[in-house]
Symmetry: C2
Subunit: 385 residues, 2 copies
């Protein structure tokens, strides 16, 4: 069934080798005073930091480094203070999805008198935003071409997704060369993240055949190229395929008129709010177990996924067997890349399962297609041990 939808994505993508040459021109429409936001300093190691300064000689640059892998509201608060104090015109995020996510909250938080956490908690809806752009160094979250962001509050032990129509980057520079030096484990995290976004969107209630086809082909392309990057991390074309796929994976061109399930993301946010594991580690562990859990509820959809994405040969098998084989193939595929598939591999035991299930279900609905109760989450987490 095809649902109504409204789609507009104003972000300008500058993709490819050397596209940083456009940086100064892209920013110049917005002003001369820039806040450069970055993470743990990998941009200093790979030369991007110096390149930014050399491109932006005519601008006045302020800086805030140290954005966390799970970006914190406290960092956004710090940045907003710098912006206000110095009348900054433009925010430039250089880094991975975390840095871009943090930039989004800074952007809309700048013109809000209250605490930016109110925006994350949907207590205040922004009406104005500081323009921002990014230079991406990691293929993963898709944040570079969408208005969504995930922010962590350490004090309240919450990790929450939010979005605003004002939070699209003005531009995103996607140069695959910046991803050459990303460690393999983080590269794999990015691949799992990309794939899980596509899978979340695939498990929708509408079954729009146009979107089905786009997602199936996108997943198959990622799965073909992912193992190659482990052999040749400096291969431009392979890195480019993965970077482009990550962007398409969550710029909502794969969900026209559909609403994905997103329960796995909900559960994972609860896990990584309690344990400091990488988002994608949680995803590769939970998603196959979530799929096994929903299999009896929607055998035909899982079967379609198994055949069209995981290339399961359906001959002489029941629908359930086909579905199960597809899920296990996904799990062993991720395992073959080196991603964890059990909570024990990342040091998590059963101690906090109930707590995590409570956090995950502390929202109106967990799983917009296959609604999960606290008990469901406990079962999924138990089967993930």
């Amino acid at each position: 069934m095809i649902n109504n939808f409204i789609y507009r994505n104003p972000t300008k993508i500058l993709f490819g080798k050397g596209q940083i040459k456009h940086l100064s021109k892209e920013i110049s429409t917005y002003g001369k005073k820039i806040l450069l936001l970055y993470g743990g300093g990998s941009i200093k190691k790979n030369g991007l930091y110096d390149e930014i300064y050399s491109q932006l000689k005519d601008f006045e640059i302020f800086e805030l480094g140290g954005v966390e892998p799970n970006p914190r509201v406290s960092t956004a608060r710090k940045a907003i203070e710098i912006i206000r104090k110095n009348n900054i015109d433009f925010l430039l995020a250089a880094g991975g999805g975390s840095t871009v996510d943090c930039a989004k909250l800074i952007s809309v938080g700048t013109y809000y008198d209250g605490d930016p956490w109110d925006i994350v908690k949907k207590k205040y809806f922004p009406e104005k935003a500081l323009p921002f752009g990014d230079i991406l160094t990691l293929a993963a979250t898709g944040s570079e071409m969408n208005p969504g962001s995930v922010i962590t509050n350490i004090e309240t032990e919450e990790k929450i997704g939010w979005s605003s129509p004002l939070a699209y980057p003005k531009f995103s520079i996607l140069d695959p060369v910046y991803t050459f030096t990303v460690p393999l484990s983080q590269t794999v995290n990015g691949i799992v993240d990309t794939m899980s976004h596509m899978i979340e969107q695939y498990f929708n209630a509408e079954h729009n055949p146009v979107m089905d086809g786009l997602i199936e082909s996108s997943l198959k392309t990622v799965m073909k190229y992912a193992p190659l990057v482990l052999e040749s991390p400096h291969n431009y074309d392979i890195r480019a395929v993965l970077m482009m796929s990550a962007t398409i994976g969550l710029n909502y061109s794969l969900s026209w008129g559909t609403m994905g399930d997103w329960a796995t993301h909900g559960i994972e946010h609860a896990v990584s709010a309690v344990y400091d594991i990488a988002h994608a580690e949680g995803l590769s562990i939970i998603m196959p177990n979530w799929l096994l859990y929903i299999l009896p509820k929607d055998i035909l959809r899982v079967k379609q996924f198994a055949i069209n994405v995981m290339d399961v040969n359906p001959e002489e098998k029941s629908d359930e067997e086909i579905g199960k084989e597809g899920i296990l193939k996904l799990q062993s595929y991720w395992k073959s890349l080196g991603a964890p598939t059990h909570l024990s591999e990342v040091g998590i035991d059963s101690t906090n399962i109930k707590k995590m299930a409570e956090i995950a279900t502390d929202r109106p609905v967990l799983g917009s297609v296959y609604n999960l109760t606290k008990n469901d989450v406990i079962n999924i987490l138990k089967s993930s041990l």
Copy 2:
């Protein structure tokens, strides 16, 4: 190989049943005086004309009907006169791709003192545009989400494609219900148009695997649903699949970093500049013959198309045989929908072949991947008789 590219598509898509309810709000940011542009009057028959007036009670509406199926520069001139005389704020196109194409030239021609034909001939590059939006009544050209347009000049016997970064619609209302009453022959034309856009983009030199996958799956979805619309022209979901596919077919999300060939379109424009046939009729006739002509030049690419799109079973066949089978399958598929596959079917004989070949090759390059000479075009047209 992945090429560099810059992508930004600012058009807002409002897709689905009843989305016209947003019309007044979408226009209100731009002003109160509107020029309503439409074609041969089908919008009066299907109720859209009355619906527009009922939605826009608070606006002052001027009108220009009669936009031709191959929209003419003379019509754009007329519209620009009305706009200037009455200080129009916003242009609303209601109709198919022709009406939208015409609106684009009117939009950028409004602020140019010279003749709008200069813009089509790339003698003047617009710097300002009257904002415009559209309500689409035909799934075909993709004009509703791109900045391109094709305009005909009857005096000079020219039909030329042009584009401008300023020529994106501000919004496009895509309600599949408006396409229910499109006659089946025109519906088939729309399907051929959609598919040929995808095929033109598929035959590129870069072979970007992400784009390959997206195009292959998009083509397969269209080919699955096209025969169904002939049985059930009032089925919402089928019409919706075709409408959405037409938009995706040419909003350039299928050509990130690739440049399609577009020779078939070049040849077709020459044919329909001389003979008044529908654009899609020319395409369904020429494209398979063009494919057969380039087959020896790029056997592996045609082979990939044959296997991945046309489902040719490659076993025990040479690459050439596989490619040829795929092309002939495409041709008989179009024939099965009722589309013409020979020039004789639309009343064209060999008389003007040389003339058409001259018009088609009167440009720097015809076919950006497989460059064609005048002699090549003559051969392709001869094999299309």
